[in-house]
């Protein structure tokens, strides 16, 4: 599938604009600011959510390509932030083979 051709015709913001707004409001709420301080010792920075909302709206209203690119950059950055750690274990390619096997009903565990 030629992804690049289809994306320019059918691109939508990764989240709905309402979602960006609700994330912004949640970020700025007293409860969240408290939790953030409790977990990280700092105040949360919420401006990015507001920028994302504004870029999202700009795209929805005017198909502003600058806004689209800014939004994509912001979200890619968020994804990268979530990957900033060296995993302790190796990921599986398949689920564990015994996940769905029935339980052993009789007798004590062996091996």
């Amino acid at each position: 599938m030629d992804h690049s051709r289809t994306t320019s015709l059918s691109w939508r913001p990764p989240r709905t604009c309402d979602d960006y707004w609700s994330e912004f409001k949640n970020c700025k709420s007293l409860r969240n600011r408290f939790h953030h301080y409790y977990a990280h010792g700092t105040s949360p920075s919420c401006q990015q959510w507001k920028d994302d909302y504004q870029n999202c709206s700009a795209w929805e209203k005017r198909k502003d390509t600058g806004a689209k690119e800014a939004l994509q950059r912001s979200e890619r950055n968020r994804v990268a932030e979530q990957k900033k750690f060296i995993p302790v274990w190796d990921l599986r390619r398949e689920p564990p083979i015994d996940w769905h096997l029935p339980l052993k009903q009789e007798g004590p565990r062996d091996s």
């Binding site: 409860r31 969240n32 939790h35 409790y38 990921l91 565990r109």
Partner: protein, 233 residues
């Protein structure tokens, strides 16, 4: 291998019903008015209403580990004050029916154990031999399940504010390891320290540390939206 030694080494002695095999016979009276019934009702409610649990259940399904309540959960009597456990050998989550009496506690235990199950499903976790793996999953479970929320810590009379969450996560991970493995406190502390930065920052499948039910709802919303999200990055 000497089975009783294995049981002690891996913490199975906390879950005495596990080594007797699964006994399912009970009268109707026993069925309705027991801790077992209450446990199963609370479990059902947790799976249906907790956004933490719903997200984990979806994520596990996507990873090929569909959860069937009757197969993957067991309500049992346990020793001491332990609330639950994940048995990798049988791919089952144990809920301690004699120690979980409130729905909010059930929600939290289910979330905590589902995080272990999720880790088991998506990664080669060597639960029995690699203490770093064990520590990592415990750090993640304490971090992401709400175990270390301000209110829960307050209820334990652990008062702290700035970055207390992290202190709590370290402490609970340490306790969990010491409860099921025979190593010294110093050794366990070193292992937790070693893997803390990596595992504290692994928020999968939530995408964030859900500090409240609202955060968990947002995380669930994001998870349900993930196809659109990744298609438009």
């Amino acid at each position: 291998m000497d089975q009783s030694k294995q049981e002690e080494d891996y913490g199975y002695d906390l879950f005495p019903e596990r080594s007797q095999g699964q006994q399912r016979k009970s009268t109707l009276k026993q069925s309705l008015f027991t801790f077992n019934h209450k446990c199963r009702v609370m479990l059902q409610l947790a799976m249906e209403t907790s956004p933490y649990a719903k997200l984990l259940l979806s994520a596990m399904k996507s990873s090929g580990c569909n959860i069937y309540k009757d197969r993957h959960f067991a309500c049992e009597d346990c020793d001491g004050t332990v609330s639950g456990g994940f048995d990798a050998a049988s791919s089952q989550i144990v809920l301690c029916q004699n120690n979980i009496h409130q729905q909010s506690h059930m929600n939290r235990v289910v979330t905590h154990e589902l995080i272990h199950a999720f880790d088991h499903c998506r990664a080669h976790v060597d639960w029995f031999n690699n203490y770093r793996h064990l520590a990592c999953s415990e750090i993640r479970a304490a971090n992401l399940s709400g175990d270390c929320s301000f209110h829960n810590e307050l209820a334990r009379f652990n008062f702290g504010l700035k970055e207390h969450h992290q202190k709590c996560v370290r402490g609970r991970a340490l306790r969990s390891i010491l409860a099921v493995r025979k190593i010294s406190r110093e050794e366990a502390e070193k292992i937790v320290d070693d893997v803390f930065d990596s595992c504290f920052n692994d928020h999968s499948p939530f995408g964030r540390i859900p500090h409240s039910k609202k955060d968990a709802k947002f995380a669930y919303r994001d998870y349900m939206n993930r196809d659109r999200y990744h298609a438009n990055l």
